[in-house]
Amino acid sequence: MRLSRAIFTEGVYESATLNVIGVALLFLSPGLLVCTLVEWGSGSSHQEMALLGTTCLTLVIGMSLRTITSIADDSMEKPKAVFSVVAWSWVSCALVGVMPYLLGDVFAWSHFGNALFESISGFSCTGSTVLEDIESNGRGILLWRQMTQWYGGMGMIVLGVTVLPNLGVGGLKLMAAEAPGHKSDKLKAKSIDTAKSLWVIYFGITAVITFALWILPNISFYDAIAHGFSTVATGGFSTYNASIGHFNSYLAELVIVVGMFICAMNFNLQFIFLRGQGENKANRGKIKVFTDSSEWKLYVKITLLTVFGVFLLNWLLDSAPVGIAFRDSLFNVVALASSTGFGNVRPNGIGDFVLWGTATQLVLLFLMAVGGTVGSTSGGMKVLRMQIGLKALRRELKKLQHGKLVFPIKLGKTPVEDSIVASALGFISLFISFVIGGTLVATVCGGDDFVSSLSGAISAMSNMGPALGDAGPTSNFLEFSRTGRAALAVLMVVGRLEIYAVILMFIAPADRLKIRKQT
């Protein structure tokens, strides 16, 4: 496992975890500073001191940790160590992210849990909120809220590209199985370079979405960039109570739909599409890059078929006018398939999927669980795992028919290792187990409604945002009990860190947080 040592300093104490936390916090401070300036400049409220205070706090803590700690030569060699370190630094960011909410009186100190929920929801790119009136907050605070999702998306790229493949459990190992030219060994060796390249794409997409929204009528630059942040991260936070429905604009919805759809696509494929492959830049700008990927094809098929199916259900069963049925189906299906979770609810509840028929809601629940593709910022079980799961089932049946024959599972033309198949199937089982556990805690310990709890658990595990029942797109997660919210917050972390990281965080924290004085 290689992480560039250039970004780390040589302090007195050896602690990889604290050092990386320091780096992560320093990354947050420029964002916080921008939010402070926005808040100060807007004059809409007086929460700039809260943001400035947090900026100073992150700078001081970050610099201190970098100064006094160092990373021992051997401490980052074990993949599990890196895994644990990244997970803890992610949790630290979520904890620091709480400060602007508390210092700015968005939440009272007695409601620390709600502030933490909001912060976790942001950094995990989930988009579930416990804010009752979003619009009553200052522009800087709301921009920070959007930015937490943007940072979370960036962190996800690091996790996906540099950490998970080395444990052989994450999405990228699966992705490497079929992505042309990007072998996992190569990615290991150039993990930081790859992350940087993907960040460039991430920045680029943010800029394009922001620009596309900005040129539309009635959308300010502030709104454009705020929604650009949460779209590229497939997060789903909005600066308005009615989310995208606030704009009531076909064009804005179309831009967001395209943005969500693209951001739930494998960033590695986008990288190859834009920069080419290898030294001769093969396949640059060729759509073949996508069409060669079996996961991409399935993702497109699932999305299109579901849009069509939900449109038919809305039109035929719920008697919605054709135009409205199509608009709402397209927007909500893409929002849920990409695990973004934006809403487009307009006056009189138009576009509120909680009011749709049960059959339609079941389809949406399924979409929430599946999520986007591997190597993207989206959550969920991921299309590739579902694809492998279905192929494995088909193989089992074929084996019964022709017992002694060998049936390799292929993604496109590439056979998939048995260990990857086992890992994908195991992940699906783990995902289901966590959803059941979350539902159980929310209903039994919190006394929450069954449908809200089940859909809330799926939504949290998939980093989706809204749920069904009482926690739909027009509502917020204050509908859940305190215990229920705590359970969902845990699921958000578990879902974002792809389960395994969280298991490691609690299995091996003792040696990862160990501080040893250098001799």
């Binding site: 494995a392 049946l397 019964l400 783990l430 409604d449 299995i507």
Partner: protein
């Protein structure tokens, strides 16, 4: 086409259909005899006798045509299981239509599927049925239970190749319990099954249930079927002792029958080391405790414990008897759905995901955690003394995924057929049919499913899939689709 459906396939099909005809003949004749003193339902009587005689004759003919069958291959076993159950449902539907208690074909299919798959779901006005039909329904569930035991103890072990090792996901450890010789094995577990039925019958009689009702209820308790002679099920008797008998009967019905055999053979050490048994009772006790606390009554009142125990036993064994309406709070709903989904032990007549799979899943999670912490660690997973192979785990994950997928698809189709169904109701009805339990968990404003073609056929398909543990049906569907694809391609080539 002919190469695929060769004479061997035809003979196997004849054999399967012959068995179904034979079973229907047996059940209808017994039912007709049961109705003998009652002359008020002559149409029913005549229909049953004629059906019985006719089907018995056809059965004899078909079995003769099929000749002796060597059943060793997985494909043959699966084809046989699916053909038998489908033909039984088809024939039983005709009986229901002939007797006139069901008016439409889809409703008849639904009632028949509920019978043979041991699911307590019905839309017939129970109190209006003559005694012969009660016997018919009860015996069909009992026969369905016997069929499941044959599948688990005899058929499934044959589908596992020796070189693959023991497949705990598909067969559990059931193959190790009775004698190795299939004929002896069938005899042994049939004796245990009949013995259990007789004990429950005696217990019902002792608890004050009438003789006829005791016969019917003992058949449906031992088979974890859940059909009752009363529309209010066991609750209609208002008797604590009858409820206790039903509770223990259901708990025993959900146990692996091999445990009784081991007890009979005084192999108590084997019972003691049985992990699944411990887990079964652990789930049972925890659920009774949870329901007891959530019932909003005095927990230390015996009636509360009895009600909690009854609900748990009915859900866990997937029997489906009721004493109270299943309109629970959200917490109880979640626990009830989980208990229902877990289901009974392997080697029992109960359905569901099964306790042994839950244990395997739990241990898998533990193993994964250990391996991450200590990558070099080797953690051997064992279930009741048997090593769990990686292949079994792979199958387990596949089974889990398809189980949930089928419940979801079922819920989707049910919500299409009954538009007033809530999300919770559609999921619970679908799950209940899939685990062969029966009643769904209603919400306070719920009215249940609409009875139409889509809902009847969806529930029937789920019951069959759940009863056969998915695999045989999936195999036959794949085989049929491959065959049809072959025919289609050939036809296209010929046209070109």
């Amino acid at each position: 086409m002919l190469t695929r459906f060769n004479s061997e396939s035809i003979k196997t099909s004849c054999f399967a259909v012959g068995i179904s005809f034979g079973l229907i003949g047996f059940i209808t004749l017994i039912s007709a005899v049961g109705n003998f003193p009652d002359s008020s339902n002559s149409r029913t009587q005549l229909s049953l006798i004629l059906s019985g005689l006719l089907t018995s004759l056809i059965s004899a003919g078909l079995l003769k045509l099929a000749g002796k069958q060597e059943i060793t291959r997985a494909s043959k076993i699966f084809s046989l299981a699916v053909t038998s159950i489908l033909s039984f449902i088809a024939l039983s539907s005709i009986v229901y239509l002939l007797t006139g208690f069901v008016e439409t074909l889809d409703a008849a299919i639904w009632e028949s599927a509920a019978g043979i798959t041991t699911t307590a779901i019905s839309n017939i006005e129970i109190e209006k049925l003559p005694s012969s039909m009660h016997i018919y329904r009860s015996v069909s569930q009992w026969v369905g239970g016997l069929g499941v035991l044959c599948l688990v103890f005899v058929a499934m072990p044959l589908t596992v190749r020796k070189e693959d090792g023991r497949d705990l996901t598909s067969e559990g450890y059931a193959s190790q319990i009775f004698s190795r010789d299939p004929k002896k094995k069938v005899k042994e577990f049939s004796i245990v099954y009949m013995g259990l039925t007789v004990i429950i019958f005696v217990a019902y009689i002792s608890a004050g249930m009438g003789t006829f009702d005791s016969i019917c209820h003992s058949l449906t308790t031992a088979s974890t079927g859940g059909f009752s002679t009363k529309s209010a099920s066991i609750g209609s008797y208002g008797s604590g002792s009858i409820e206790w008998v039903a509770t223990f009967g259901m708990i025993f019905g959900g146990l692996n029958l091999g445990l009784f055999w081991w007890a009979w053979k005084k192999k108590f050490s084997k019972i003691k080391e049985n992990t699944e048994l411990r887990a079964y009772f652990f789930i049972l006790l925890i659920s009774i405790l949870a329901f007891g606390l959530m019932l909003d009554r005095d927990f230390f009142d015996l009636e509360t414990i009895r009600t909690a125990a009854f609900i748990t036993a009915s859900l866990l064994s997937t029997t489906g008897f009721t004493t109270v309406s299943w309109e629970f709070s959200s917490a109880m709903t979640t626990i009830a759905l989980l208990v229902m989904a877990t289901g009974a032990m392997t080697g029992s007549t109960g359905g569901g995901y099964r306790v042994h799979r839950v244990i395997m899943l739990f241990w898998y999670l533990r193993r994964e955690s250990t391996i991450m912490h200590k990558p070099s660690a080797i953690r051997v997973m064992k279930l009741s003394g048997n090593k769990v192979l990686d292949r079994s785990l792979e199958k387990l994950h596949g089974y889990t995924a398809i189980f949930i997928l089928l419940v979801a698809v079922g819920a989707f189709l049910l919500s299409l057929s009954s538009q007033h169904l809530t999300l919770q109701e559609s999921i619970s009805f679908s799950l209940s049919a899939m685990v062969t339990n029966g009643p769904g968990l209603l919400e306070s404003t719920g009215v249940g499913i609409d009875h139409n073609v889509v809902s009847h056929l969806t529930l029937s398909a789920l019951m069959v899939l759940g009863r056969l543990s998915i695999l045989p049906v999936a195999y036959v569907v794949l085989f049929a689709s491959t065959a049809l694809k072959g025919v289609f391609l050939r036809t296209t080539e010929e046209v070109e």
